[in-house]
Symmetry: C2
């Protein structure tokens, strides 16, 4: 059956066009979008591509290989163009906003990619090479750069989830009376956001100006600016000394 199917496909367009990395990646992302990460199986992927599983295995050896294709595809969408061209602050800002926006569209992949070795993912490693070069240019000591990247990525991954959080996530409902301070803080944030729905917009931020995106954008901006200024200060031993 497989041979027949392949022969049939060959008569039309070559299998390489159907099963190129781009097609496999696109189909894998569609599956994950529909059913979460658990929906990504080799047989479901073959079905979606309209080929026999064995034909798929000729192109990718395992689900792990598919995942590397997906990771590389997503990481290639992260904007590293600021490194080497802009001041460190600006380059980190551009990188972080684009990185968050890419993963906000693919949150079911975060817990997988956050712990996935980069060993066979060339686009991913290229992304890290550009970021590392930017940190070295800004005077970062080599042995602290990975910690700084991991800290920023942790914030970025967590913030990507927040983009998809419902607007009423902090509504305290009947618990409001017993928790007045938190409830009032939630209310005043909500009033601030509805008063200036567009104020959350900035270069690199999500184009949507819904109230929910405004909330997640303002939290992301506050945290990112704090991280950038705190990390920059940590480079200078005098400034880094914690004020007591």
């Amino acid at each position: 059956m497989v041979a027949a199917q392949q022969a049939k496909r060959r008569a039309g367009r070559p299998p390489s066009a159907v099963l190129g990395p781009a097609h496999i990646t696109k189909a894998a992302l569609k599956l994950i979008e529909q059913d979460g990460y658990k929906g990504l199986t080799m047989s479901a992927l073959a079905r979606r591509l309209g080929v026999a599983p064995s034909a798929l295995y000729n192109h990718v050896a395992s689900k792990a290989d598919v995942l590397l294709l997906v990771e590389d595809h997503l990481m290639a969408g992260v904007d590293v163009s600021g490194f080497g061209a802009e001041p460190w602050d600006e380059a980190v800002r551009r990188w972080a906003w684009s990185y968050r926006n890419v993963f906000a569209r693919h949150t079911p992949l975060i817990n997988v990619i956050a712990v996935l070795p980069v060993t066979n993912a060339p686009q991913t490693v290229t992304m890290y090479e550009a970021v590392t070069a930017g940190f070295l240019d800004a005077g970062w000591p080599q042995e602290r750069i990975i910690d700084a990247i991991v800290a920023l990525e942790s914030f970025i991954f967590g913030s990507a989830f927040d983009v998809t959080a419902p607007e009423d996530i902090f509504d305290t409902g009947t618990l409001a009376a017993d928790n007045p301070l938190f409830s009032a803080a939630v209310r005043s944030r909500s009033i601030r956001n509805s008063a200036s729905p567009g104020s959350g917009s900035a270069a690199g931020s999500s184009s949507s100006s819904s109230s929910s995106s405004s909330s997640s954008d303002s939290a992301f901006r506050l945290g990112l600016e704090a991280l950038i200024s705190g990390l920059r200060a940590s480079l200078d031993p005098v400034e880094a000394k914690p004020a007591v």
Copy 2:
């Protein structure tokens, strides 16, 4: 069958002892530990508790209710004792380390709990009430407190994943030659960590001193201290002005 089973249990110990919130929570966490979040179904939970699904439904109306129990159980383990007792920096530090450590043991729940409304989770709201009180005491304007909490939580959730990352996550393998800067930074971090495997330990940090925990601890410490100092600086308009 359900009635017979309930009658049999009543003859032994009362069903309330078997199906109290604590038992349901414990069984739910075991299921998630084994099979991930998708392993948590009402029927699997009833099976694990040794009761008929209808008996379980007498105590929790839905999987969403079980999840609230689980969320509340985890949030009750987050240490808010510093707020109201210690300086803001110290209280945030204690809270953040304990929060990260709780979720590092339950990463399959992060993408669920990060977007779960708190409306019917009393322990969770109590946790937020204590944190909000601490921020108000430290002079934070009410309308910016939730953004600051969300920014810290985003960093905490992302960092919890990093605790479970394999030690070789950044090994570039055959890609090293084309990506020398990143590869060298990864190598120097690894050398630093193996030279001082215990140096990552601090109050509130993970008790394990493995190389991997040392890596994630040092990244978490760098990011958390940067966030704390950056957030504190953002309270003062003069200090907050970005240096260009």
